[in-house]
Symmetry: C2
Subunit: 418 residues, 2 copies
């Protein structure tokens, strides 16, 4: 019996990596005053069709449930966000700064950095049109990566503005109904053949190609970078008007995060989508919004390929997994005494392990090492004293059972609760 292709088992080592990623995500989002929320894994398929058109269904894990409902395992969070915000926005002061960490599913070919099931962080600001919100969101996105030890030499945010292009097209009197198609062509620039791009751009080819190769001038993008410079984050950013993001619903600033080496898929992507909540709520609620998503798969690869980030992760995981204390039961007649103490230690929050069955003392000390314990407590002939061994310094001392808890608290530097 095998797991399904594109799905992952998280054995303890893998789960520790996942938890490390989640902890950084949560910690940084909280520093920015973002609050956590979450939606269901299963939603009506219609919710995704409404946002992305019926082509999206080819990429979904969707089915008819036993109540004859058309349902889909969520491929992304934004439609759920729009549904929830439309239903509850009156309960909250604007702007909302919300984040969510959860699982997402896409039926597609497995490839590097792309699985059928992955975890994603979503961060959104809702109800604020000012560019300050775009800057805040970008700063968060950059600081999320900095929390993994990644620097401006490791990663880059490529920033663009849909309005740069819509202004460009408007100034050249290109009819608005051609804009979406032209933006798609720009989005595919470098991935499609130059001939095809030129053909599709038609009379605009020379002009557009000039901007794509030389870059564009945008006062808004300059202000954005200035805002990041105020925070010391400008080195992470490249203005790159070739980024338009394929999805039609973006309305302003858009961005994608990549490894500097350019070996991997995007680590994160997002932008402003001021009309989407209105569209998805059937005009019930109109609300400017912007957000991004960051997946665990590519991020994990970037960390793995960046030695200083990898080292930071390994150290954090090693520290996080350690037990505090291993109780060595040297004489079985003291097992009940040991268990009473173990219960007391655990009640005080220490991570304590011990052998479930009679075990040679040397093997117990091995288990203490394997678990990363800082202290071993030995219950044997010394009873009612307990032998306390500092597993780092190898120092040993005999402590009366009744004084043990204080002694342990002192060792772990726990402030007196009295």
């Amino acid at each position: 019996m095998q797991k399904l292709p594109g799905f992952r088992d998280f054995l303890p080592d893998d789960c520790a990596v996942r938890n490390y990623i989640f902890a950084r995500w949560r910690e940084v989002a909280r520093r920015y005053g973002f609050v956590e929320w979450e939606g269901p894994i299963l939603e009506p398929t219609e919710l995704y069709k409404k946002k992305s058109g019926s082509e999206i269904v080819d990429q979904l894990f969707n089915f008819t449930d036993k109540g004859e409902r058309e349902v889909a395992m969520r491929p992304e969070l934004t439609p759920t966000l729009a549904r929830v915000v439309a239903a509850h926005e009156r309960e909250f002061k604007k702007p909302l700064k919300w984040f969510s960490i959860g699982r997402f599913f896409r039926f597609e070919k497995q490839q590097r950095g792309r699985l059928r099931e992955h975890f994603q962080l979503n961060c959104d600001i809702i109800g604020e049109t000012a560019l300050a919100a775009d800057i805040e969101l970008l700063a968060l996105c950059i600081d999320l990566l900095r929390a993994f030890g990644l620097t401006e030499n490791d990663v880059v945010v490529r920033i663009s503005d849909r309005e740069f292009w819509t202004d460009f097209l408007r100034e050249r009197n290109v009819p608005a109904d051609r804009w979406d198609n032209l933006l798609q062509v720009i989005d595919k620039f470098g991935r499609e053949s130059r001939e095809k791009t030129i053909e599709k751009l038609g009379e605009l080819a020379d002009l557009v190609l000039k901007v794509l190769s030389e870059g564009g001038k945008s006062e808004k993008l300059d202000r954005l970078v200035d805002g990041l410079r105020d925070r010391g984050l400008a080195e992470f950013v490249d203005i790159d008007v070739r980024i338009v993001r394929g999805l039609a619903y973006y309305t302003g600033i858009v961005f994608e995060l990549f490894d500097r080496a350019g070996n991997l898929r995007a680590i994160a992507g997002g932008g402003r989508y001021d009309n989407l909540i209105q569209q998805l709520s059937d005009d019930a609620v109109s609300m400017p919004a912007l957000g991004f998503a960051m997946g665990d798969v590519v991020l994990g690869e970037v960390v793995n390929e960046t030695p200083h980030a990898l080292k930071q992760m390994q150290q954090a995981i090693a520290a996080e997994r350690k037990i505090d204390i291993y109780v060595v039961i040297a004489k079985e007649k003291h097992r009940a005494d040991a268990l009473a103490q173990i219960q007391q230690l655990r009640d005080h929050g220490y991570r304590v392990d011990y052998p479930l069955t009679p075990t040679k003392v040397a093997r117990q000390f091995q288990a203490a090492e394997d678990g990363g314990a800082s202290l071993a407590l030995l219950y044997g002939d010394e009873w009612p004293q307990v032998k306390v061994k500092n597993l780092t310094t190898r120092e040993e001392s005999l402590i009366p059972n009744k004084a043990l808890l204080d002694s342990v608290a002192k060792f772990f530097n726990v402030p007196d609760s009295a």
Copy 2:
């Protein structure tokens, strides 16, 4: 556009409750030396049929995927555990003590305490036959509830032993092929009519009903309770041989946790399943095992209905959500200075919020209160000094910008990192 019936949106208040539950679960499991793992949400439907028979399919969210695979959204974790352990057991020293927190799905009628999607903690010990493992697992289960402030007056673990009944039947020369059916009848005792129970039990009716009403004597169950008494947890436990748990794969100790008032469904349930890994792995791996699952829905109800547990949760959530610092931008010309400082404070791990756009000072202080900030930093005419306001005592002081970080660290009692 509505969410599906039986599924939940976790708005920030709901998500805070969920996170509170997860944090307690994770913390206590770690104290017991359990390590975290996780499996996929989607598995081959066959995995569940193999364990529970094809009737299970009626209760699944199952479908044929676009690769013509029969797949199901997992209703429980044990089959995945068996699959993973069978594939990887050589990589780990036994016993394994593993826990997992994730989402599970059942297509069934919504009712109180029972949704179509819920979160569940699973804790399992694998590779240990000794009763000490059953005691350790039960102690964990009890301590998980104690971590929510629940006492022996609020909750009870009803413990039984499948072997008590199989021994009973063996001694009375009941053929082994009738045991499963008889255990099902005992499982349904009190939920089926007495007449039906008597009819189904046949010649055993008098004897079995006597045991069910008077209780049974079991040396193993007594040792189990003694083991919990060593840890001071015996008051949480009732021996109750009426518990057999419907599922055929349990082989020894079984238990269920309930609210003492008896108003709610089981909070958790589990037991020993020594043959299941062998069965699910097609005899590839034989491994004794035991475990339990605890859902978030009934647990949440118990906490809600227990005033001291509810108060503990509310206090923990209020403390957890607080931001540390609100930066009041009183003069817009100091916004860039404020932003540089905000970045610095966030880099040091503080949770900092501020107004994205020009905002009246009184409204900014209101936002500081709403966010639960301990400190407000005001950037205005005092610059390059910053007005620091302790929002608890209302004390104010002027601190030079360059000394601000030290001053804040002192306030929050952060040890000098130098």
